[in-house]
């Protein structure tokens, strides 16, 4: 599983950091997505999928 994040598209809603904090964080000042782990382990797959699904701006991309 590979994840990518586009900080230009991101609107800092924070849904990713809420759903998969192991993989996503937010920039301290701008609130935009900070990708902690672009290749998350299988046990986090569900959380990552949910995070990608719930992103309101479509800033996250998932490759499985």
């Amino acid at each position: 599983m590979k994840v990518s994040a586009d900080t230009e598209v991101c609107i800092a809603a924070g849904m990713c950091a809420l759903n998969a904090p192991e993989v996503f964080d937010q920039h301290e000042e701008e609130g935009t997505v900070v990708l902690l782990d672009p290749e998350p382990p299988a046990e986090l797959a569900d959380k990552v999928r949910r995070a990608v699904q719930m992103c309101p701006s479509g800033a996250l991309k998932l490759q499985e």
């Binding site: 800092a12 809603a13 950091a17 609130g31 949910r50 699904q53 719930m54 309101p56 701006s57």
Partner: protein, 388 residues
């Protein structure tokens, strides 16, 4: 956007506001959604526009940068509020009806103040405020008015906390914001309340410049990115956006749960269910009932049924607005379901009208966001439609 939607102007509809059942959107919206994705819409000012009824169409409009959200370009679809809104002059910094890049500039400065980390830090303070209000209500004894004793003061106090409004000013703050939002209040009263709030907030901004605290306004002052006037406008927007919406959700959410004792019991018995119940109630009740107006910008190359170039915006995979979905709308509310949708509050840029996410209707299943594997119908949110 199909040809079948090209109705003659004579068949134009007006935006319905009367609800047949208090918690459901007007029935016409559901009927029109089944009939066509776009209808001619007659505005109170005489303008003839379009009403987008289905989710895919609403989403396409809201995500398309060729549609503008600027107040001076859009017509207001509902009569009374149309006059009221146009009579209120919003100051710089109230970035509700703006397009990028102007909107983006304000949002960037604020986004850092609303990260998950910051909200977690705020949680214990909110819990204390909530507990305090509940204790006061219990001490006063029955009968209790939940709206006055809890639903209205809680968000107001939280906003005071966020902005750093001193405790002694809380009453005034609540009174003015209630006037500004009250449906029964006339335009003059509202303008006076807005002026009062803005004057107060301007003082507060100056105070934060001299004596910064650990609140949001002090943080904005420290960025140096906004003028005093803009910061006042931002503070006012945060107040207005977060007060009545939250108060209505608390009151209507409680009412809905009381009507469904089994769901209420589930929430009461399992704290984990409360989180998902909140998301579901946000979807089900959709307290921001006004449609989101949009206007076409000069970069548009075709009409709603013409061949404009495709949007550059990316769409999230799974989205849904209840009144705008192709899926059958659900008129029931399930408290026990896995969280799937970003809450309405996460969607600031689209005026709450494109709250993405849909939920799986099966209470026992793990959520799948309505993917085909789920086997259950999706339950889109019940937001109003976009207008063009």
């Amino acid at each position: 956007m199909t040809r079948t939607t090209r109705r003659p102007a004579a068949e134009a509809v007006t935006f319905p506001t009367a609800r047949q059942r208090p918690l459901d959107p007007p029935d016409e919206l559901g009927r029109w959604r089944r009939e066509a994705p776009l209808l001619r819409l007659a505005y109170p000012d005489g303008h003839l526009g379009w009403l987008a009824t289905r989710f895919a169409t609403v989403r396409a409009v809201l995500a398309d940068p060729r549609f503008s959200n600027r107040a001076e370009l859009t017509h207001v679809p509902v009569g009374r509020s149309a006059r009221e809104l146009s009579s209120l002059r919003f100051p710089p910094g109230m970035f509700l009806r703006m397009d990028p890049p102007e909107h983006t500039r304000y949002r960037r400065l604020l986004a850092g103040q609303f990260t998950v980390r910051r909200m977690r830090l705020l949680e214990p303070r909110i819990a204390r405020l909530a507990a305090g209000l509940l204790e006061e209500m219990a001490a006063a004894g029955p009968p209790a008015d939940l709206v006055r004793a809890y639903a209205l003061p809680l968000p107001s106090l939280v906003i005071c906390e966020l902005l750093g409004v001193p405790y002694r000013d809380h009453d005034r703050f609540q009174r003015d914001s209630a006037t500004l939002l009250g449906l029964e209040r006339g335009p003059e009263e509202k303008i006076a309340a807005l002026d009062g709030l803005l004057a107060y907030l301007a003082d507060l901004v100056r105070h934060k410049r001299d004596e910064p605290g650990d609140d949001l306004l002090s943080g904005l002052v420290a960025t140096g990115g906004l003028t005093e006037e803009e910061m006042t406008g931002v503070a006012c927007l945060l107040l207005v956006a977060g007060h009545e919406t939250t108060a209505n959700m608390i009151a209507l959410g409680t009412f809905t749960l009381l009507q469904h004792p089994d769901r209420l019991a589930a929430v009461r018995d399992d704290p984990d269910v409360a989180t998902t119940a909140v998301e579901e109630l946000l979807r089900y009740l959709t307290t921001s009932g006004r449609p989101a107006p949009r206007s076409r910008t000069s970069s548009w190359r075709g009409g709603p049924s013409g061949r404009g170039r495709r949007s550059r915006c990316r769409s999230p995979r799974r989205t849904g607005t209840r009144s705008g979905s192709t899926a059958p709308t659900s008129s029931t509310c399930a408290a026990r379901r896995r969280r799937t949708s970003p809450s309405a509050t996460a969607c600031t840029s689209a005026w709450g009208s494109s709250s993405p996410g849909s939920s799986c209707a099966s209470p026992s299943r793990r959520c799948c966001g309505g993917s085909p594997a789920c086997g259950s119908p999706c339950r889109p949110a019940r937001c109003p439609c976009a207008l063009i």
